[in-house]
Structure formats: C-alpha cells, structure tokens
C-alpha cells in the first residue's frame, strides 16, 4: 500500500514536471522561433545607424535574459500573481499555470537567442544564393529557416533542458504543494530536507534520465547536421 502510494506520487511528480516544462517550451517555441528568426534576418538588412542601435540593444537584451536567475523570475511572477499583485485576480499563484509562466519567461530568451544565432549563421550566404537562383524574398526566407532547422531544434531542446532542471523559480511561484505543484526538482529538495533519501534518489535518477535523453537527442542532432 505504501509502495503503491510511493509509486503513484513519483508518477504524478514526473508527469507534472514534463507537463509544466513541455507546455512552457511549446508556448516558448511559438513565441521564440518567429522572433529569433526575425532578429536573425535583421542583422544584414538594417542600414541606418538608429536601426542598427535598436538591433544591437534588442540582441543584447535577449542575451542578458538568456541568463536570467530563476529565483528572480519566480519572485517577479510571485509578486505579480499574489493576491495584492496586479494579476492577483487571476488566482493563478501556487498552480501549475504559475509554474508554466515562470518557466516560459526563462525559456523564451533561450529559444530566441539560439534560433537567432542559427538563422544569422546561414542567412547571408543561403539567402543570397536562393535570390540568385530566382527565389522571392519569402521563398529565400523559408529556405534560410529550413537550413537552420538543426539550430532551431537545438534551441527547443536546450530550453526544455533548462526548464526541467529549474528549481528556484517554480518553488516560489508554484509553492511546491504535494500532488499539485510538486515537480522532480522541488520534490528532491523537500525529500532531502525530510531525510527521505530513497525518494530523493529515485527522483534524482528520473531527472538524470531525462537530462541524458535530452543530451542524447542534442548529440544525435549535432552528428546528423548541419554538415556545412
């Protein structure tokens, strides 16, 4: 009976972790890939000094946000969603939705940054070749995105890796409530504090397996391409 509950809780924690991080990354990809592609394209097109300055500022901002401390993000989300906060009326604090918002804020800059670099690295030569072969600007842009697909996929995998292993932010905004907002990372913290090492180690092994699967996927991607 106890073992059954132990197993059920582990499954609940694992599924919640995958659901929260997966949702954050899917939404993050929907926002981040178009923005990253746009910024990757812009660098060769902007001629005017003022626009170049805006471009540099935007890219610096993205790079800064790629290294956002998760606890700070958690704190900001907490202050926004707390009952007296500007978004308190939504009633999202200490729910999986609050955790998704926290991780979303963290993963969007990662997806934008990696996508931007991937697109920018092939933009000039591929776009020009496509245009020379008779492509319209849209056809050339599509080809550039296709040629940087490995980088775009990498951005998603890196973002998922960052999200699933994050602890500070979701601890603050999710509250680490058993059966409701407890994820692999926050559970490891609490189980270690309680001295439940077997539970903590089991969760740690699951987290490590997920991390290994992510790295395996990344390595396979890097081996498969791009070949240029």
């Amino acid at each position: 009976m106890v073992e059954d509950l132990f197993l059920k809780e582990i499954i609940n924690i694992t599924i919640l972790s995958l659901r929260v991080s997966g949702t954050a990354v899917i939404i993050g990809a929907v926002i981040g890939i178009p923005v990253g592609t746009y910024l990757g394209f812009r660098q060769f097109k902007l001629k005017r000094t003022i626009m170049r300055l805006v471009d540099v500022m935007l890219k610096s901002l993205v790079n800064t946000f790629m290294g956002l401390p998760p606890v700070v993000v958690g704190l900001v989300v907490y202050l926004l969603l707390t009952a007296s906060g500007p978004l308190g009326w939504l009633g999202l604090l200490y729910t999986p939705a609050a955790m998704v918002i926290t991780q979303l804020i963290m993963v969007v800059p990662i997806i934008i940054g990696v996508t931007m670099s991937a697109v920018a690295s092939v933009e000039s030569s591929i776009r020009e070749r496509a245009i020379s072969l008779g492509a319209t600007e849209n056809q050339a842009a599509w080809l550039v995105l296709r040629e940087s697909r490995v980088g775009v996929l990498t951005s998603i995998i890196v973002a998922f890796g960052a999200a699933i292993s994050e602890v500070g932010g979701i601890m603050i905004s999710g509250g680490n409530i058993r059966w409701l907002t407890r994820t692999l990372t926050t559970a490891i913290v609490v189980e270690t504090e309680l001295g439940n090492y077997s539970m903590a180690l089991t969760l740690g092994a699951i987290l490590l397996s997920i991390a290994f699967a992510i790295n395996l996927a990344l390595t396979v991607l890097q081996l498969k391409g791009p070949r240029r």
Partner: protein
C-alpha cells in the same frame, strides 16, 4: 543583337571606389571573359549584373531594356544564371539542390523537373549523384552541382565568377567542356571572370581587362594581349 550593355557603371562602398565608369556590351550568344587581378572589381561587376547589388551610378540594359531598381527584379533575375566562386549548396540531396530553382518558379510539372535535372546531371558528369547529400561532395563535384543549378533553368545569360579557381585539371576540363557546348549549341550568352589567361584564351570570343575598377582594354585575346598569352599576374 546586344544582350547586355553597361553604361558608365560605377560602384562605391563607403567612399571606396570599386568600379569606375565601366562601359561595355556583350552580344547575344557571346562568350565574354573578364580578366584582372584580385580586387580589380570583377566579382562586384558580376554581382551587379546578377542584380544582387545596385550600381552607385550608371545604367544597365538587358535586351535593350534598362534595369529599373524600383521594380521587382525577380522576373529579370530568373532569366539569369550565376555561379559564385564560393560554392553555396543547400543541406539536401544533389537532386533537390538542382531542382530548387525550378520548383520555386512553380511552372513545371514534376516529370519535367525530373527530366531536366537528370539531363543536366548528365551534362556535368554527375550521373548517379542525385541522391547524395550535396554537402558531402568534394570541391569539384560541388562546383559542378552549382553549375547544374544555374544551367537547369536554361538561362539566357550565364554569369560565372572564377568557376574553376579551386578545381583540379579534370574538373576544370569538365566545366570548360560544359560551358563550351552550352555556348556553341544553345547559344547561351556567357560572362565569366578568371585569373587564368590560358583559360581566357581557350574560351573567350572577347576579353575585357579590368584593373582597379576600370576597363583598360577590350577585344579579342589577340587584340588585347597580342601574343603574350604567357602573361601572369
């Protein structure tokens, strides 16, 4: 009939003059070769002819019609084929690389695309390479795929920027053979740049000598160089 005409074409980058009042014309079906040392403006001139760059001043005419840079240049560019010195191929099969310019035009059936791709693969002696990833090819093979990409659309004007610069003699011979046949049999107008004076002598009907952005001489090889075909830069 004049296929291409340049009238006082100049190009500057941040005040640095790369081309200065370049004026010449190329006849339909002519094999025209631009020779000149590094930095003489050959590549810039070809990029302007491929409509990838606008001249700072001057006019360009294709079939007697002046290029209007305010208009959509895609229809005009689709009549031109260009092979860059640095080969840029896409991360897809050789077949898909060559089919790409036909597919984006959207006017040919799948069967017609296949027929044209296979024919041009035969022309550049790359039969059996269609399924290989283009990025796994050797330098010579890659350059021949780039040539095939430019040829498959059957362009009226073919621009080649030192297409054999980094190739071994076997690949040079294949590329030169393809260009010669194309020019003689299909009467395609070709403008090519090269460092290789022997190659210029072998292929060109007329030569223009470009130095420091200016045309210094123009005419047949003999008119430009007399008997000094051993001239080196």
């Amino acid at each position: 009939m004049i296929a291409v005409e340049l009238l006082n074409v100049s190009k500057e980058y941040s005040g640095r003059v790369v081309l200065r009042n370049v004026t010449f014309n190329v006849h339909e079906g002519e094999f025209f070769v631009l020779v000149g040392p590094n930095g003489s403006g050959k590549t810039t001139l070809l990029r302007i002819l491929d409509l990838l760059e606008e001249p700072t001043s001057g006019k360009i005419f294709f079939d007697g019609e002046e290029v209007d840079y305010y208009k959509d240049r895609v229809p005009l560019r689709r009549k031109i084929g260009m092979v860059f010195q640095q080969t840029v191929l896409f991360d897809m099969s050789v077949y898909d690389n060559i089919a790409y310019p036909l597919r984006i035009r959207g006017s040919l059936s799948k069967d017609e695309i296949e027929r044209r791709v296979m024919n041009v693969l035969e022309d550049v002696e790359l039969r059996g390479f269609d399924r290989k990833n283009a990025l796994t090819l050797s330098g010579g093979e890659a350059q021949r795929v780039a040539l095939a990409q430019a040829l498959v659309t059957e362009p009226r004007l073919l621009l080649l920027d030192e297409p054999t610069a980094n190739l071994d003699p076997k690949n040079v011979s294949i590329v030169e053979g393809v260009l010669s046949r194309l020019n003689k049999e299909r009467k395609t107008t070709i403008i090519m740049t090269t460092h290789n004076m022997f190659q210029a002598e072998r292929l060109a009907q007329r030569i223009a000598l470009l130095n420091e952005g200016e045309i210094r001489a123009i005419g047949t090889f003999r008119e430009v160089f007399g008997y000094q075909s051993q001239l080196t830069w």
